[in-house]
């Protein structure tokens, strides 16, 4: 067990540092909202620079245009890059999930067409899975694709997707659609890639409870796609989506937002009714300790995952606990930080609130984090079923034609 860089890792880190020192930006765009909605040109320029220097898609195989590097290399680059005010990354979902799906299932011409521009940041991809009536239950997708009546082999897509991150600036997307409602739901799905600039694709931003608009509704009206845009076989959409979601698991990310360290400082700078810093109160100290332990537990669970990946092993199930812990941690910590301010806590004006309103921002984003990418409840089911081997829920939609599955309104 060794926590330090190996000589190879240290050499790679040095190479990264040298390059970043010469090339990384020194200021961040003032409009950057952290959700990829800042200066897109700056983000694209930074991605192009990284791609030219061999620091984009580090873990991708060389035949995809990647670097064939290790997950540890990728983590090292991420750690070093985070020291600079780099633009927020609108490519994460595309390069982490969508394009790898294309690379796994498309023909060579398609791969050659889409791989390199995606790596260089010239084209952005989004993932079109969730729908108004299929959130946790992704396989209940109702957006349908039907064969064009003209016998061309093309497909016509109609329906609605929702919660699509970055759709407003995406060039392409991968979409899961129903191609046969007469089959049980998991068997009647098919995956395609689509051009987001098609006139039949309409993107409408969602006004979130947090005030921002990082997500969108996407409406498909008679969008015609070629059969060559199909990813995987007709009816294999569910299997293809599992590959997409598996890549999501490997796109290991660190925690964001205000954390225990900011909380500690806030508790030191705020006084209680006795005039002493709240950090001296045992109730505050106990909570802070619990949050530190959770955050550290996640950090080291990631280190265990990285170690397994770097040895060429499949990561253990410990990688599945991340979001369950971090989302609630973010919510509880932000709320306690706000409550510490007492009456003043209602003020979220960045000019008046501590951390420029960072805790308030976390408080309002946390409910979304507990839902996005698998709700707390679905993630617990996943751990119970896939990790612990407990039985799946009793369901009423099995072995029933999708069109006959009971629905609400």
């Amino acid at each position: 067990m060794d926590f330090n860089d190996t000589p190879e890792e240290a050499a790679y880190r040095q190479k990264v540092r040298t390059w970043l020192e010469a090339n990384a930006p020194r200021t961040r765009d003032a409009n950057d909202d952290g959700e990829g909605g800042g200066d897109l040109a700056a983000a694209k320029a930074w991605q192009a620079k990284k791609a030219a220097a061999g620091f984009a898609c580090i873990t991708w195989p060389k035949e995809w245009g990647g670097q064939g590097g290790t997950p540890i290399d990728s983590v090292i680059f991420g750690e070093e890059e985070a020291r600079y005010p780099i633009p927020s990354n609108p490519f994460q979902i595309g390069l982490g999930m969508c394009v790898p799906t294309v690379m796994n299932f498309a023909d060579q011409a398609t791969k050659d067409r889409f791989g390199p521009p995606a790596i260089r940041g010239e084209e952005i991809w989004c993932q079109l899975f969730s729908e108004p009536s299929s959130g946790s239950d992704v396989a209940a997708a109702r957006t349908r694709a039907e064969k064009a009546p003209d016998g061309s082999g093309d497909w016509i897509i109609n329906g609605q997707k929702v919660w699509t991150t970055g759709a407003q600036f995406s060039d392409f997307g991968i979409v899961i659609v129903r191609t046969d409602p007469n089959l049980p739901k998991h068997k009647g799905l098919t995956m395609f890639w689509v051009d987001m600039k098609d006139p039949g694709v309409e993107v409408r931003p969602i006004h979130q409870m947090s005030g921002g608009s990082g997500f969108n509704e996407v409406f498909f009206t008679d969008v015609r796609v070629k059969d060559s845009q199909r990813l995987g076989g007709v009816g294999d959409g569910w299997k293809v989506s599992l590959v997409t979601l598996m890549n999501e698991r490997l796109a290991v990310g660190g925690a964001t937002g205000a954390g225990w360290s900011q909380f500690l400082e806030a508790a030191r700078d705020t006084t209680g009714s006795d005039g002493a810093p709240l950090l001296q109160e045992s109730a505050v100290r106990e909570k802070l300790a619990d949050w530190y332990v959770q955050a550290e537990g996640l950090r080291h669970a990631r280190n265990r995952t990285m170690t397994a990946l770097s040895k060429g092993q499949t990561p253990g199930p410990e990688s599945s606990i991340g979001k369950i812990v971090s989302a609630t941690l973010m919510q509880d910590l932000a709320n306690e930080a706000v409550e510490m301010l007492d009456q003043y806590g209602i003020i979220n004006d960045p000019d008046l609130a501590p951390l420029s309103g960072g805790f308030h921002g976390s408080l309002m984003m946390a409910p979304g984090l507990r839902i996005a990418g698998g709700t707390d409840e679905i993630l617990r089911n996943i751990i119970a079923e896939r990790v612990l081997g407990l039985p799946g829920d009793i369901r009423l939609d099995k072995d029933v034609a999708f069109k006959d599955v009971p629905t609400g309104r």
């Binding site: 926590f3 100290r285 300790a289 280190n303 265990r304 606990i321 119970a384 081997g389």
Partner: protein, 372 residues
Amino acid sequence: MNFDFSEDQKFLKNEARRFLEANCPTSRVRKVLDDASATWDPELWKAVAGQGWLGAAIPEEHGGLGLGRLELCVIAEELGRAVAPIPFASTVYILAEAVMMAGSEAQKAAVLPGIAAGDVIGALATSEGPGALAASAIRTTVEGGRLSGTKIPVTDGGIATHALVLAKEGGQLGLFLVDLSVAGVTRETLSTLDPSRDAAKLVFDKVPAERLGGAGEGLSLVEQVLDRAAVLLAFEQTGGADRALEMAKEYALERFAFGRTIASYQAIKHKLADMYVKNELARSNAYYGAWALNTNAPELPVAASAARIAASEAYWFGSKENIQTHGGIGFTWAVDCHLHYRRSRQLSLVAGAPRVWKDRLVSHLERRNAAA
């Protein structure tokens, strides 16, 4: 970075599990639990000594195997899983570590070979009453090399051959090594939450005592010893927590209610998922503690605190929710659930309660943040 145990260490862990499955099934633990006059399993202790575990981290020149602390970590995890009724922690994590850290050459020679051979059993005697350890509360004193006072409770105090006693000498706190076989030591076995482990009240009346380390270093030494012990205890707790989750899972899968296995209800599935999450947080923090312990890193106090807090929480949660998952049968003496419930309390309290460790952790973080 290599954040994992080596193949050799994993092999040792498997060996330890096999050995304990053969030599320490819960029926053995129950023999101690059910026999009011028994507080430990001396035969198991001898067998464990025969495996070389007691001296695993003791240098070869003192009769040990000269392995590192990582080997102790994997053994600890298995001992915790087995709810082993032996004074391993008091002897190996506390007495041996303290003597290796602060003992004179003579003290090392006097104690370490005996530990490795299974002849010396240790105990840490700091507490004198309810409440967290505080310098002002220590009334035990040393005058002219003779120690007098009362310590309660002392885990393994009823069976130990040697104790580390926190006492005041000339107004300064020191940590003293006391041979418990001499006249002037009175032991009284205590009734505790976990009768599979020994605990006693020790009364010292002018007993010869040798100071370990410098004068006035007592509290700091105890903290350093407990930091080291906390990491190893965290592995025991994690092993116990994992076993509690396994028991809950096995029972939930075989128990039927309302026409189906209770493991198919989300109320049970999510409870077990929560146990798993806490166990993984505990294990990951324990790994970091293991690294810090083995390399004597400056991060040890922070890493040890985090490991202890996470492991205490995981074992407590796992042991209580294991009973809940079992329902009525889990509340019976006959089913093993209470062995873990009891041991989780013993392990959470033996080296200072989580509340104290949380406070210490935040103090360390305050200093670190101020220095950054």
